[in-house]
């Protein structure tokens, strides 16, 4: 096996293994910290695919933002002296059947389909090109995404506010 393949399998194992911990862990805190390793593994996969800007974005936004927000969610939806933080599992067998079926069909599709075998894009620095595309050809979606973020954050603040101003 080439070194690249070894690194890929390490990242893949970290990603899938910690994702399994997220889903199967009894404690919410274990799930949250396993999610951290999943995000790191996915960032590693991005790096292997030559997406350096996306890997940095993944670390900054997912680990620095979304994961912290989820941890706040864990803490705020339990009593502070409640050390247990258990999360129960319901209807495990039907869920397992659906998930296994989805995995089987997706894997079969991925392996059977004759994907267009091009050379693809050689790995190189992407930040400058992505910036040019966002402020040029894709300015409108970029603008719409910023409006969406603003609306979502105002909406979130509105929903959790305690008192209504008449």
């Amino acid at each position: 096996m080439s070194p690249t393949a070894v690194i890929f399998w390490i990242f893949a194992a970290v990603t899938v293994g910690s994702a399994a911990v997220v889903v199967f862990a009894r404690s919410l805190i274990y799930s949250a910290f396993a999610l951290l390793f999943t995000f790191f593994g996915v960032a590693g996969l991005y790096l292997m695919l030559g997406a350096d800007f996306l890997a940095a974005t993944q670390l900054l936004i997912y680990v620095g933002g979304i994961l912290v927000l989820l941890l706040f969610g864990v803490m705020l939806t339990h009593k502070i002296y409640d050390l247990d933080l258990r999360s129960e599992v319901t209807q495990f067998l039907p869920g397992l059947i659906v998930a296994a079926g989805a995995f089987g069909i997706l894997t079969l599709t991925a392996l059977r389909t004759p994907w267009a075998a091009g050379a693809g894009r050689a790995p190189s620095a992407t930040t400058e090109e992505i910036g040019d595309l966002f402020l040029g050809q894709y300015l409108m979606p970029f603008w719409a995404a910023s409006i969406l973020l603003l609306v979502a954050l105002i909406g979130a603040a509105m929903i959790v506010r305690r008192k209504k101003i008449a």
Partner: protein
């Protein structure tokens, strides 16, 4: 040699684990975590197709938008979960049956 199908299979595993989490966990925050897994698997697919396909950087741009949507979704989702917790004193989804007729 690591090629496109390798990444697709990893992403499929991530996706089905996320589906399993959404379907089987009772805790709302845990369901949100599983949704993050699903969005991440979609991102891996987009970036992999961007690397091996003919489209150039478009897949990576799409992935950036997926990350934006994920951030917005987590913010609003957690706000709803917190409000629900205040109402019901429980973070479990199957106890959120106020709308049931």
């Amino acid at each position: 040699m690591i090629t496109l199908p390798h990444y697709l299979v990893v992403s499929a595993a991530l996706f089905s684990l996320g589906i399993l989490g959404v379907l089987t966990r009772r805790n709302a925050v845990n369901v949100l975590m599983s949704i993050e897994l699903i969005l991440n698997s979609a991102n891996v697919n987009l970036v992999a197709f961007s690397r091996f396909g003919p489209g150039g950087l478009q897949g990576q741009l799409f992935a950036v938008f997926v990350i934006v949507i994920a951030a917005a979704e987590v913010a609003v989702g957690l706000a709803i979960v917190l409000t629900l917790y205040r109402l019901r004193r429980s973070p479990n989804l199957d106890e959120a049956d106020i709308l049931k007729g």
